[in-house]
Symmetry: C2
Subunit: 139 residues, 2 copies
Amino acid sequence: MISRLSTDEARSLLMECRIGRLGCVYENGPYVVPVNYVLDGENIYVHSLGGRKVTALRANPKACLQVDEVVDEYHWRSAIAFGVFGELSDGAEHTRAVRLLLSRFPQLTPVESVPVHDGQSSVILFRIQVEEITGVAEK
Amino acid sequence: MISRLSTDEARSLLMECRIGRLGCVYENGPYVVPVNYVLDGENIYVHSLGGRKVTALRANPKACLQVDEVVDEYHWRSAIAFGVFGELSDGAEHTRAVRLLLSRFPQLTPVESVPVHDGQSSVILFRIQVEEITGVAEK
């Protein structure tokens, strides 16, 4: 039995999970990578290395984050948030996002939590401003 | 330490996993859903309900399948296959794909393994013809 989750149920799942799969569009094709993230209710914050996903999101800021909780092939919940990518380089939101991420992922070092810009290997802090949340479950 | 997986290592991870996150492009934005799949070395076969992903893939056949094996935030492997979507409705490849999927997911019933076409809830069998495989690991 597959059924839709309510928006609240889907948001709860997104708030519980620690790893999500970030989707973006790269050269008119999909690209998906696992990321650690925090959802504060309205925005998803991600602290990650640069590379293809950041290149893609700078060119097309449409993003999604999919999470799931799988018991087995026939018992699972999945939720997805759609939104718009934006980079955070400083300011109050940046400070708050670093704090949120550090509270959830204490092993992030202060060095890692400061964005540096040295090419492919740079660490980027970005938000996905959530516009829509949906989810489904099978049980 | 984040490092690239070789193509063979990434393919092995894709062959081991049972659940992947299928990425596609829907109205110029990304869409990601969890799917069960089988990779036979060159093609990924997926048996799934219709809906947004199938609508998206019919309009833009570029697809990817991302899998990962996560121990914790700092110890994981992730692989992604990029390829082209194609529906299978009958023929030798269809029969072989059903057999592969049933051998891996025995709970798929024969009824489920026959595609039916009755709108949103129809079951679809499709391949992603793999063109590129990459992967990364942190350890």
